[in-house]
């Protein structure tokens, strides 16, 4: 295919050529950054919590009134939940994965550590916690019922026994011998690692250390309590519907907030990631519409060019050019314009990514997405120009003789 004649023809359509190239460049810059955002959000949303998430129901409860201690109320409630039909196990805690609110502290290896320490989220629980969450204990043992103690609002949580996640254990003791070691959640108060679980994530979706979790054998003496319930297989809906009545049946002096008082874990997950999901959907729609508009623009302008050059096409056909030559001409022409567009587009895309990196604390664009974007836009250009080019190839050689 002769490229020189194409270039000299394009020189006569500077404005149109520049506009198509510019449009392709801008589309590429926006689309590959948008797709990258989609990728990041999807990656975020699909992170696992380490729990067996099916059949778990979470209840946020607040007691009304100011009794001497909330612990007896809590114990009664947990007993009532465990004896509910369809319930496999239940426990009371201060936070759970994806809840978007919880406690964290720094762990020290020495009793009087001055350094920042290793950050960890804190989950309170008891000997039923591991079974209710469905997390796997990979070393050591579970809590026993006589290890569970209560803690007041102004106490620092630092029980003698703790269970930690594998990742946290390895961070504290890189040699992999964390089990049985002593660590400090509060100055001078030792805690022994009695168990290690495979994986469990923190309550927040955007925390720096998503896998640093400690489970403590504590019950929080507070009016705020969270109950987690594991339903027997197939019983989740029944438990979800009846659990509020069960609790109100025990004691009416409580509030289960309307929107998030009782939630299945699917609801918790959907709520935690709804912003990410919304952003991913929005970005996908924008990409789709942008590509469609760019394709339509190419079709429009190419059709116009074909219409404008009918006579020249006729002359070429009359001089012996085959249909495929004409088709090839327009396809190549578009390819050259698109190529110029993507070259500029790649520069714009990288610039845009750099700008978003500084202004929105986002990761830098991965080059795969630039390549994907380039391929998509070149392909789009070829697909869009195909119909007008086909029409051009059908111009009869007779056109050359008309209207002269």
């Amino acid at each position: 295919m002769q490229i020189k004649p194409i270039l000299s023809a394009l020189r006569r359509h500077k404005a149109g050529t520049i506009l198509i190239a510019l449009q392709i460049a801008l589309t590429l810059a926006i689309v590959c950054n948008a797709l990258f955002i989609v990728h990041e959000r999807v990656e975020h949303v699909s992170r696992v919590t380490g729990m067996d998430e099916s059949n778990v129901v979470a209840i946020q409860n607040r007691y009304v009134g100011t009794p001497e201690s909330y612990i007896p109320l809590v114990k009664t409630d947990v007993q009532a939940l465990r004896s509910m039909p369809g319930v496999e196990d239940a426990y009371v805690t201060n936070a759970f994965p994806l809840r978007q609110g919880g406690w964290s502290t720094g762990i020290q290896l020495k009793p009087d550590g001055q350094k920042e320490g290793v950050s960890s989220a804190l989950y309170f629980g008891d000997e039923h916690t591991l079974k209710t969450l469905g997390v796997k204990l990979i070393a050591g043992r579970n809590f026993t019922s006589n290890e569970i103690v209560s803690i007041n609002r102004d106490d620092r949580p630092a029980p003698p026994q703790v269970i930690v996640t594998k990742i946290l254990a390895d961070k504290l003791f890189p040699d992999g011998d964390a089990l049985g070691k002593t660590i400090y959640y509060s100055k001078g108060r030792p805690s022994t690692i009695i168990g290690i679980v495979a994986k469990l994530t923190v309550p927040w979706t955007d925390w720096e250390y998503p896998d640093n979790v400690t489970i403590m054998p504590l019950t929080f003496n507070s009016s705020y309590q969270i109950f987690l319930v594991r339903a027997k297989a197939g019983q989740q809906d029944a438990v979800y519907k009846s659990v509020a009545d069960t609790l109100y049946g025990v004691n009416r002096m409580r509030v289960l907030p309307e929107n998030f008082g009782v939630r299945t874990f699917e609801m918790v997950r959907a709520r935690a990631y709804e912003k990410d999901r919304g952003m991913a959907i929005l970005m996908s729609i924008v990409c789709g519409v942008l590509l469609a508009i760019t394709a339509a623009g190419i079709v429009g302008l190419s059709s116009f060019w074909v219409g404008q050059r009918r006579k020249q096409i006729g002359v070429r056909r009359a001089l012996g050019a085959r249909r495929s030559d004409i088709l090839g001409y327009f396809m190549t022409e578009n390819f050259l314009i698109a190529l110029a567009g993507v070259v500029v587009g790649v520069i714009l895309a990288v610039g845009l990514s750099q700008w978003m990196f500084t202004h929105f604390e986002m990761r830098r664009l991965s080059f795969t997405y630039v390549i994907v974007g380039v391929v998509v836009l070149l392909g789009l250009g070829q697909a869009a120009v195909f119909a007008p080019a086909l029409k051009a190839s059908k111009v009869s050689p007779v056109e050359a003789t008309r209207s002269v």
Binding site: G16, I30, V64, P257, K275, V286
Partner: protein, 434 residues
């Protein structure tokens, strides 16, 4: 003449329906997307106290110890009980209020209504006049009630509906957390966006439903919430909050003119220096007095995602416009013959240019209408999102007018180059080749 241009434009637009539809659609989508995101941004970054925000200020000082001292770090946004009370008692501003958020369990006389929790605010009396809070019934408590720890409360319109079916409940009793308070006022619907006076309870938190005098609430040990920052031996033990080395209260003042602001700055600076001299403050003396909007700017309350979406939509709009320029160019150049004939018949370049521009503007008007529909649909979608303040996203008159103005201006601008090119077509060449 203009009528004739419009007629020509409409005729021409009708002739190539697909192309026209494509241009209108592109403009509509671009405009609609931009307006949707801009409206959301506008709502989220709006002025929470229109007409007042310039005279409401947050005195900031630094009572912390030297641990982790960084001279360039921002000052705390809250105050200790001691400083709050000192500044409140000094009374150097026109109005001043010391406050903290809370959550209270409300019980109804109606036994069929289960107790429920509502957000509460424990504050001194100036809160209401300073922030221009509207009352439906009754009014705020007095400074005397603050000092006297009166058992009074103001409730929101929504809570009044829920407990008293919207009637005038002034003088009736409110049961919260096991104590009884006399209702002295019921607010008219009131919402500040963002929730500037206490961002620690959520940037876009809803306004509170129960208001209780600060000292009364502390006496009754009503449940407090919000951010607490402690240092040294400070602990978050609830009973010791008044003496703890923790900042946990918000303090706002109203200063009506530049003189008052300058005087208050001097006073605040003097107060900080005095505290440093007495050894209560350990850090070098530093104070600030931002107004509401300065404070919100500093805290960057608008979510990053929202700003990102605005940029994305604007980028999208630019692509749509470039697309429209290209299509218009094609369309106008295709009519070279017609333009040639008109030129030969005596039409000036100017009139050709204006006629083609009229056509561009016609597309702009149609695009504006389409964009409005897209924006309305987009905002309806945004309101479905349960995220904070999303339900506040409504198109107001300004945004509506802006949608049209931008659409018409943008398409007219897009039409300039193609129209310019078309009107420069030499008439003779076109006529010859016919």
């Amino acid at each position: 003449m203009f009528g004739y241009y419009v007629e020509l434009a409409l005729r021409s637009l009708r002739r190539s329906r697909a192309l026209t539809a494509l241009m209108v659609l592109a403009v509509a989508l671009g405009i609609g997307a931009s307006m949707t995101t801009l409206t959301v941004l506008h709502v989220l970054s709006g002025d929470p106290l229109p007409g007042r925000s310039g005279s409401v200020f947050m005195p900031r000082l630094d009572p912390r110890d030297l641990d982790g001292y960084d001279a360039s770090a921002a000052l705390p946004t809250q105050v200790t009980w001691a400083d709050g009370m000192n500044l409140l008692r000094a009374g150097r501003a026109h109005r001043q209020a010391l406050m903290v958020g809370g959550a209270t369990a409300v019980q109804s006389d109606d036994a069929s209504l289960d107790p429920f929790f509502v957000p509460a605010r424990f504050t001194t009396a100036d809160f209401f006049p300073m922030f221009g809070v509207p009352f439906r019934y009754g009014n705020a408590w007095s400074n005397g009630d603050d000092e006297g720890r009166a058992r009074v409360a103001v409730i929101s319109d929504a809570l009044n509906d829920r407990l008293f079916h919207g009637g005038d409940s002034v003088g009736r009793t409110l049961h919260i957390d096991g104590v009884d308070l006399r209702i002295v006022g019921v607010l008219a619907p009131w919402r500040v966006v963002p929730h500037f006076y206490d961002l620690s309870t959520g940037d876009y938190a809803t306004t509170e439903q129960v208001y209780v005098p600060l000292r009364t609430a502390r006496d009754l040990r009503l449940k407090r919430n919000g951010g607490v920052e402690c240092w040294g031996s400070g602990s978050a033990d609830e009973d010791g909050m008044e003496t703890a080395s923790c900042v946990w209260l918000q303090f706002w003042v109203q200063l009506d003119d530049a003189g008052a602001v300058a005087a208050y700055r001097t006073f605040l600076d003097g107060y900080v220096h005095e505290q440093v001299a007495r050894g209560r403050f350990l850090r070098p003396a530093r104070s600030e007095l931002p107004d509401v909007m300065q404070y919100l700017d500093e805290r960057r309350v608008v979510p990053g995602d929202v700003r990102l979406q605005v940029w994305l939509a604007l980028g999208f709009f630019v692509v749509c416009l470039v697309n429209t320029v290209g299509l218009m160019l094609a369309k106008f150049m295709r009519r070279a013959g017609e333009v040639g004939v008109r030129r030969a018949m005596g039409a000036s370049r100017r009139s050709i240019f204006l006629q083609l521009l009229t056509e561009a503007v016609a597309i702009g008007v149609a695009g504006g209408v389409g964009g409005l529909l897209v924006a309305l649909a987009g905002l309806a979608l945004v309101r479905q999102q349960p995220s904070a303040a999303a339900h506040l996203a409504h198109l107001d008159a300004t945004m509506l007018a802006t949608t049209f103005a931008v659409s018409i201006a943008a398409t007219a601008l897009a039409g300039v180059v193609p129209a310019w090119r078309a009107c420069r077509i030499p008439p003779a060449l076109q006529l010859k080749s016919q």
